[in-house]
């Protein structure tokens, strides 16, 4: 990149930072509007990558704009990272979530959804009856189905969990694609900096999820005991653990 290109980018970043300060420190909503307008071309550019997948481009842009607004609202002005770098995974995450949420309704066969719904109580019943965590074969036999269908139905549940992270803390929404970040060094810095702040990410989880993680990873309790303590099924506990860890990871992106 040329020197003048670098200079222009640096000037733009300084302007962004000034607008961010005005918004966050003085509540200047006009500055927020300006920031949104300045970064809409980034949203449009990212949205175009997802065009031609059955969704109108305008809708994808609108979804992406929500990610941009969240990024502006959550931006910490003390962070040494550009808004574009910070906003990109938010925008992409919002778009991908939109597609995934739609995908759930379209792609997952009803029979697998129903099997998944029956599996939770089957696992708990079998654990109690057999005195050990049931194998996939035992679950299949009790539900009158095949091992393969049990695995598929479990995966359906996991996939659904991954799509439902909106219910969790306000994270930055995506596991991130290096192709979709701007300013590699900034992103790298951001990530290593945030790794040290995984504690706050944990604190932002809802109380129940945080308590489940504490029981699992500090006390070392198995899922069955956690399920008993919190009054949920073992499968639900499993999903909450997976979802919470994914949400914390996303928060660090």
């Amino acid at each position: 990149m040329s020197g003048s290109g670098n200079g222009a980018r640096a000037a733009r970043q300084r302007e962004d930072r000034e607008l961010l300060r005005r918004y966050h420190e003085q509540g200047d909503t006009a500055a927020r509007e300006q920031l949104i307008a300045r970064h809409l071309p980034l949203v449009r550019s990212l949205a175009r990558r997802y065009a031609g997948r059955g969704e109108p481009l305008e809708d994808i842009e609108q979804v992406g704009a929500i990610g941009l607004i969240k990024a502006i609202d959550r931006f910490d002005v003390e962070r040494q990272v550009s808004l574009a770098t910070y906003a990109t995974p938010n925008v992409v995450g919002e778009i991908k979530r939109h597609f995934r949420d739609k995908g759930w309704a379209i792609r997952v066969p009803r029979s697998l959804q129903e099997l998944n719904a029956r599996m939770s109580s089957a696992i708990d019943d079998l654990t109690g009856r057999l005195g050990h965590s049931p194998s996939v074969g035992e679950i299949a036999e009790s539900l009158g189905t095949t091992k393969e269908e049990v695995l598929e139905a479990l995966e359906v549940g996991s996939a659904y969990t991954a799509l439902s992270l909106d219910a969790g803390p306000a994270g930055s929404d995506d596991d991130g694609d290096p192709m979709e970040t701007i300013g590699g060094e900034d992103a790298e810095f951001d990530r290593s900096e945030d790794r040290a702040t995984i504690g706050p990410a944990l604190e932002r989880l809802p109380d129940r999820e945080r308590e489940i993680l504490r029981m699992r990873f500090e006390e070392g309790l198995p899922q069955t005991q956690i399920a008993e303590r919190v009054g949920l099924s073992q499968m639900h506990v499993s999903r909450l653990i997976r979802r919470s860890l994914a949400a914390m990871r996303e928060e660090l992106e």
Partner: protein, 136 residues
């Protein structure tokens, strides 16, 4: 994916994209492997979670080789070679400050042992060992 029989050990190798979109495929394969080793639901779920968290830490770029050895009530997994220096550091971290949750702590809870081996060109291979729950 390849599978072979080697002196009583079943060995399965997977070469998969690290992209998030393939996480479910990997999880299904891990579930199938755990089922073959006669793991209970909880041990299977633990192994899936361990691999899922490790892959999530690699950043989602490129491909990954995962090999599984299924012994008597045990699944040994090797993931890599990986270029993730940060991943190696994260695995060597202690359990961290109270109230924090490191990758090392997560793995300590869900697998029976794990470690990092150096590979060519400064890359690493992550080893996991998971025992199935003993049955009566």
């Amino acid at each position: 994916m390849t599978a072979e029989l080697d002196e009583g050990l079943e060995r399965v190798e997977v070469d998969a994209p690290l992209d998030l979109a393939f996480q479910g495929v990997v999880r299904l394969i891990v579930g199938g492997i755990a089922e073959q080793a006669d793991f209970g639901f909880e041990a299977m779920d633990d192994l899936q979670l361990a691999i899922e968290r490790l892959l999530a830490e690699t950043g989602g770029d490129g491909r990954v080789k995962i090999s599984f050895e299924l012994g008597d009530g045990v699944v040994r997994t090797r993931i890599g070679p990986l270029r993730e220096g940060r991943l190696a550091a994260a695995l060597q971290e202690s359990n961290g400050e109270p109230g924090t949750l490191s990758l090392a702590r997560i793995l300590s809870a869900v697998v029976d042992s794990f470690g990092v081996e150096p590979a060519l060109d400064g890359q690493i291979v992550v080893r996991l060992e998971k025992l199935g729950t003993p049955r009566p």
